[in-house]
């Protein structure tokens, strides 16, 4: 294992993050505050409690997940796409490193950034609503696993993308709709029965459900199923990345 290489990639990626720390910190704070003003105060005041939790508090897990997923994807996809775009990828290909080391460096950094933003949003939320976290360890576990699995997914997108448009395409057309329709801002039980069934095909539902359970003990689907879903998604992404490096798909001709 080339630990120095992992560390070199990780710190190199993180330094980009630290250069824009203020921006990285301020933008999630502002966007979260806006959500609370709109959904929590303006609209939320007209909505009854959802399963015994105030609407403002109910949306916190979904809000965190929304940001964590999109941040993990965009950080990881950009992280690996950028060297491809400017040509510095040659160095990764000619260095004595294997796929796991490259992934640990890039995905590790992207997941760290997403985790940081998730925690910032959690902290901001606490300023607006009364938060209870019934299962803090599970909460952290879910958040970390989501950061990692979506960073892996983003890494795949970054390798797949041939231009900046494609880089934005998957997050915009697939991930954002899945997250919005995945129960970020509502409970699945609020939907008509047919749509409840359809929703169960959305993998994001399992993540948000499990994450919300760790806060309020409320879950749309069994918690074990949530864990299984995220483990499966992580394994699938790792498998795809292993295949990418083995065949050199879109990186090594």
């Amino acid at each position: 294992m080339n630990f120095r290489a992992i560390w070199a990639i990780y710190t190199f990626e993180m330094s980009r993050f630290f250069r824009t720390l203020l921006q990285s910190f301020v933008s999630p704070v502002i966007s979260t505050s806006l959500y609370f003003v709109v959904f929590g105060a303006a609209i939320g005041s007209r909505i009854d409690q959802v399963e015994g939790v105030s609407y403002g508090a109910f949306i916190v897990p979904g809000l965190i997940m929304l940001s964590v997923m999109t941040q993990a994807i965009s950080n990881a996809s950009f992280g690996i796409y950028f060297p491809k775009f400017i040509g510095t990828i040659y160095e990764l290909l000619s260095a004595p490193i294997n796929f796991l080391e490259v992934v640990l460096g890039y995905v590790g950094a992207a997941a760290t950034k997403a985790l940081f933003i998730g925690i910032v949003i959690l902290g901001t939320s606490a300023l607006f609503v009364d938060l209870t976290i019934q299962h803090p360890v599970a909460m952290l576990l879910f958040m970390v696993l989501t950061c990692i699995s979506f960073a892996l997914f983003g890494f795949i997108i970054g390798i797949w993308a041939r231009n900046f448009e494609q880089l934005q395409l998957v997050p915009l057309l697939i991930v954002t709709p899945l997250v919005f329709l995945g129960g970020s801002f509502y409970s699945i039980s609020m939907l008509p029965p047919v749509w409840q069934t359809v929703t169960l095909f959305n993998p994001v539902v399992y993540l948000i459900s499990g994450f919300r359970w760790s806060f309020y003990g409320l879950a749309d689907v069994p918690i074990g199923l949530s864990l299984l879903a995220i483990a499966g998604f992580t394994a699938l992404c790792l498998g795809i990345i292993w295949w990418i490096f083995r065949t050199g798909w879109r990186i090594r001709s």
Binding site: A5, A8, G87, L93, S94, A95, G248, R252
Partner: protein
């Protein structure tokens, strides 16, 4: 004294693309430790593909490459550890600082951080004053030297330079040549690609000529330059002649078929080319000249010549 094993050994290396294009057609090449080998060939000859296959940027479809005895595919860590690569394009992150990017390269190769060593490289490449400058603030020549510094950061034994002077003005080219000579003096084995004969001439110990994915020949520079130094003087005559006068038999002359022109082949690197003597003799023989014209074999001509020799 026994011959040391070559540091790089390329055997039957092939690269075919999905499109069916065969970029390398079974290349064999041994590179000795400490030498400077220039790979000479026109654009599209397969120079970059060859380097890419050795440096793991591309996956060969046949043959083997070993570096320091390590197979570049099976034993990639040990092999890549010995190789430094300077790409043809200026592939650098524009917002990064010089020292950071060089330090990153060293880390990527799994080497312990050693700022004293990196300082020595940067000083040697006249980049030390720019260590905290962002890449985008540097001139073109400096950026190329940053690429070299990155390639040297992990103390490789073999350095590949892919067209180090492509698209570079004359002054920078000379500067680059000095840099390469300095690296060679440090004992690094260097393989560089170029399509300039003068570049190979200025630096190489040996020259490999590659065209259409085939290694046409690899030989000591001095021998190759002899072949390439040939020039032709065409002498158009006022009146056609039937035979070359005996007094001119010492010269390498050919009479063109209609007898209206003589072609004199000579070597530009000789102390005396014999032109003055030839012209004097011509006058003595009473031959009246109409026009003179000299042509030098272009690289293309030489390639054609080599291919024909190959076939013969």
């Amino acid at each position: 004294m026994t011959q040391m094993a070559p540091i790089v050994r390329i055997k039957g290396l092939e690269k075919a693309y999905d499109t069916g294009f065969q970029a390398l057609k079974g290349v064999d090449l041994d590179i000795e430790e400490g030498e400077l080998l220039a790979l000479l060939g026109p654009n599209g000859a397969g120079k970059t593909t060859l380097i890419s296959a050795v440096c793991s940027l591309t996956i060969p479809t046949g043959g083997t490459v070993t570096v320091g005895g390590h197979d570049v595919v099976r034993d990639y860590r040990a092999a890549r550890d010995l190789i430094g690569l300077v790409p043809q394009e200026i592939n650098l992150e524009p917002f990064e600082k010089v020292m950071n990017t060089v330090r990153f390269s060293r880390g990527l190769f799994g080497k312990r951080r050693d700022d004293a060593y990196l300082e020595r490289i940067l000083r040697q490449l006249s980049l030390w004053d720019k260590r905290d400058a962002k890449i985008m603030e540097l001139s073109g020549g400096m950026k190329r030297r940053v690429l070299i510094a990155k390639a040297l950061s992990h103390e490789p034994r073999v350095l590949f330079l892919d067209e180090p002077t492509a698209g570079v003005d004359v002054e920078l080219r000379k500067e680059m040549w000095d840099t390469v000579r300095m690296l060679k003096a440090d004992g690094v084995t260097i393989i560089l690609t170029t399509h300039y004969i003068e570049e190979a001439e200025a630096m190489a110990d040996r020259v490999g000529v590659i065209n259409k994915g085939e290694m046409l020949l690899v030989e000591a520079k001095s021998r190759l330059m002899e072949r390439m130094g040939q020039k032709h003087l065409t002498i158009e005559l006022h009146e056609p002649i039937q035979t070359i006068p005996d007094s001119l038999s010492d010269f390498d002359l050919t009479l063109l078929e209609d007898g209206r022109a003589l072609v004199f082949a000579y070597d530009t690197r000789q102390e005396r080319t014999g032109i003055t003597k030839l012209l004097t003799e011509l006058q003595a023989a009473g031959i009246v000249l109409r026009d003179l014209q000299t042509t030098q074999s272009s690289l293309e001509d030489i390639f054609v010549g080599l291919v024909q020799e190959d076939a013969a």
